[in-house]
Amino acid sequence: MSKNYEAEKQTFMGVPRKIIPWWPTIDYDKCNFCMECDKFCPHNVYAKFDDEKHQLKVKNPYNCVVFCRACAKTCAPDALGFPQKSEISNLIKKLRYESLGD
């Protein structure tokens, strides 16, 4: 069952979610496709692709809660990475200032 969060309409701190590049990246050299992250994440960020080489993919990046890294804690091989938090918070601040100027 897909959980459609209508990413187009989502915002984070008043900034459209679609322009905030926060979601996990999978290091396929480390990932063992245990799917613990997929089982854990309640926002359907990940999806399983049984017939493909990379059985785990980030399917709904904009469902990912900005600044949440909880799924990385479930990853035994430490295969999940996130952007630099300070870069993202600075970007959000910048975008907010810009929108105030509009």
């Binding site: 069952m1 600044f67 949440c68 909880a70 300070s86 601040k93």
Partner: protein, 279 residues
């Protein structure tokens, strides 16, 4: 020798405990005089002369705990030897005494935290949805969109999770704190908590240094569910620049509106899923 060993083991285990040198105290060191008045004193007397007790009594201070080493030998069934150097049995006794003191200190600390007297009465924005009831304090608290709050008080601030997040998490069973002294930036993971349903992080609404954790949550994690804005606080930080933190935070009313929208969206999704099931 054992009294000294107990004292050294105590400060090794709990760096926040400070050692008072009886000789300097006797000479009337001013720094010690102030310190003694403002803190809990643990007196460790090694022999019958009880110098430490006398020094504290002279200052009309009631010790938090008194340890008389010869009594401890009896209590733990250990024989006194005439040798000056500590043997293995004596070292073990020192560890036992140290653990006894720490246990008592922790119990008292938890009781002090549990006393809600230091918390004022809060006024809330409230909304009930189905069987759930959500509250947001009207004043004094600031929120991020990750459903965590910060309550600044001068140069320090308490941090915790919102009523919404505790409702989502359900019964909280375990907590994991950041280390005391650790530096936390805004939106860093400032510890986690585990419920019967999931593991969640407290995403820090502020930047600063961790100076205190709510030890009461170790034995009573349910306080986060029962009283998320007061007795269920998570950690305390020394603020770096709250004005800067505030740029990405919401006040009570702003968060209440955001939370309501989120609850209604989730309610719609849930109802949609349920209706699909029934088709």
């Amino acid at each position: 020798m054992i009294a000294r060993s107990v004292a050294l083991k105590l400060i090794e285990k709990c760096p926040e405990i400070q050692l008072i040198c009886p000789v300097l105290l006797n000479n009337g060191d001013e720094k010690y005089e102030k310190f003694i008045k403002s803190t809990k004193i643990i007196v460790i007397d090694g022999c019958m002369t009880r110098c430490a007790t006398k020094l504290v009594e002279k200052r009309e201070k009631k010790p938090f705990k008194r340890i008389f080493i010869p009594d401890m030998f009896k209590k733990y069934g250990i024989k006194l030897t005439k040798k000056l150097l500590l043997n293995e049995e004596n070292e073990n006794l020192a560890v036992q005494i140290m653990e006894e003191i720490i246990k008592e200190l922790e119990e008292v600390e938890v009781k002090e935290i549990l006393k809600s007297s230091k918390f004022e009465t809060l006024e809330f924005f409230e909304i009930a949805v189905d069987k759930y009831h959500f509250k947001v304090p009207k004043e004094g608290y600031y929120f991020n969109e990750n459903d965590c709050w910060i309550k600044p008080e001068g140069k320090t601030a308490l941090l915790g999770i919102s009523d919404y997040l505790q409702n989502v998490a359900a019964d909280i069973l375990f907590v994991e704190f950041p280390e005391i002294g650790s530096e936390i930036e805004q939106f860093d993971d400032a510890g986690s908590f585990e419920s019967s349903k999931t593991v969640l992080q407290l995403i820090s609404p502020g930047t600063g240094k961790t100076i205190r954790v709510n030890k009461a949550l170790e034995n009573n994690p349910e306080l986060m569910n029962q009283d998320p804005y007061q007795r269920g606080w998570f950690i305390e930080i020394e603020l770096k620049d709250f004005i800067e933190d505030g740029e990405l935070l919401m006040k009570g009313l702003g968060y209440f509106e955001y939370m309501k929208e989120k609850i209604m969206k989730e309610k719609n999704i849930f109802e949609h899923i349920e209706s699909e099931k029934n088709v």
